[in-house]
Symmetry: C2
Subunit: 339 residues, 2 copies
Amino acid sequence: MPTMIDVAKRAGVAVSTVSYAINGTRPISEETRQRIFAAMEDLDYKPNALARGLAGKRSRIIALLCAAPDRGLGFTELGFITSAADTARENEYNLLLWSLDANQTDELRQLIQQGLADGVIVMEVHLHDERVDLLNELEFPFSIIGRCDDLQNHGYVDIDFHQTAYDAVRYLIELGHTQIALINQSQRQFEAGYGPAVRMQHGFEAVMHSYDLPILTRFCPVTPQEGYRVCCELVAENPDLTSMVVMNERAIPGIIQAITEYGWRIPEDFSLLSLVSSPNVAQMSIPPLTSLDSPNTELGRLGAEQLIQQLEAVADHPPPRKLLPCYLNVRGSTGPARA
Amino acid sequence: MPTMIDVAKRAGVAVSTVSYAINGTRPISEETRQRIFAAMEDLDYKPNALARGLAGKRSRIIALLCAAPDRGLGFTELGFITSAADTARENEYNLLLWSLDANQTDELRQLIQQGLADGVIVMEVHLHDERVDLLNELEFPFSIIGRCDDLQNHGYVDIDFHQTAYDAVRYLIELGHTQIALINQSQRQFEAGYGPAVRMQHGFEAVMHSYDLPILTRFCPVTPQEGYRVCCELVAENPDLTSMVVMNERAIPGIIQAITEYGWRIPEDFSLLSLVSSPNVAQMSIPPLTSLDSPNTELGRLGAEQLIQQLEAVADHPPPRKLLPCYLNVRGSTGPARA
DNA sequence: CTGTTAGCGCCTTCAG
DNA sequence: CTGAAGGCGCTAACAG
């Protein structure tokens, strides 16, 4: 592996000049610049990232903190991961994967103190998140996908759950539905303060209230079996129900089965709308589900971009805060309300 | 951030002694060892990874090359990624994510020349893979999840597709089936030499042949629509068919629909077995699918472990080669052959 | 068993 | 606009 010294020799300049040429930290005459880059080409030279990081105090490495949530990792997280990786690369950063649970703050501290990463992206944040506390305490740069309660003047990117609830209800109302139930994630998640569960719950209630419609909601553990059980109860107790919005992909097969067994056809007799879901699984159902798909790749991208901006910022920008809507994809599980 | 010098001072020893104590590269008297570690504790010292890497020629960083295959990333890849990350951490390595397509060899070369990573894990390899060629050319350490044609005396971990085909057919035969069809992935993938498609095709043919049963196979693009179309044709042309093995998760909803519309109930009239699939999606179907689930986390783990062993090997071990079976999970989509 | 010291490859003040 | 030289924090000879 050639080093900067080799390049300097070949170009007939000092090493520092090569460094400046590479980093653009200082004006260089066009002529020597050319010579230097030619020499780099010839030698197939690439700056050594470790040495650069050590000397320059910036490694151009960021880390993605990927904790497995209770329900396991899914397409949502996969979207974050890959788009964060892409975004990092586009900006000439490297992305590390730190698979730590939300409570492994000691391990996180260790990793940070290693000095490898310039900053981290936190995903799947809890409303109150120890990791975020730690990062604040260490004053270590970070960005968040999701939102905490205590925003601490920090930025974030998240899904606009309220808007999503609104879009869902609005869409069903336009199809003539007035009896709309929400099946949320598990009560445990809700009570643990899991952001999406909490915000969707409140968002849905607010929207239904604003339309002066009856509010009907259920929590449901994230399994088909529980989906079946919860949905059976729900329809038995509410035979007037014509539609349902569900933010619980894993429960959906059970829900469909319950509805079918009750004697309703989808979408002729009953409409089903999957919230904050991914196209992959929405298309796996029969019929394919109309859904409000989560902007996963955008979230991952923005999370990475916000962190990188923060790392490269000269002045202090105001903390970037962004809420993204879900995209409505009309597939086969929704239709006009039955008479 | 304290440095090694601080620790050395506080413990009253030379920096090198601290270094040796940390790395265990040289015997240290128990007493000074204690003093040094106490000093490290007191100062909350952690070795700087960049400096360590630069000086020691080993960064303890490995990279996972994660190309998105044609069909997009799914649970399989997610399993690789997370288990590789876990394994890396357990061995005190850091895992980088390099999202490069299989043909982006220039970018790969660049990243390697940066000197950040000690080695890479390649997944989703093609039977002939440019990345592997490059890695061989550069003599850069790597491990493979999957297999190339030209093994070059290199190790690998992969699924035992032949065994999987055998297990699937055997299981169905025991249920009394003799008319068994295979729905594979797309012909394009097969012809492009995509390992799983090729090996499953050959494995299935060999197994059916060994049982002296009729061989019936179809390729199918990875969408529900195509699954529907291919399956409609298949059953129309083969009304005696009683079962089907499918290595094409995305096509399955369409397949189920086709079978249902044909008038067969699953599993009473027709058995469906999903090959090399993930429990998550197998459980998403109605009924939940009996499947041979892919050992994703084991593959990811072994891929990482093989690389790390290679990096830390003193002597040259023989290249580790391992084929893993899929796990049979009997769920609700298989039953005795209809009369 | 321990200490001294020269790098690892680069960045970044300082002088010119 | 360019050069020289001191460090970044650690490892690994080389000496005791």
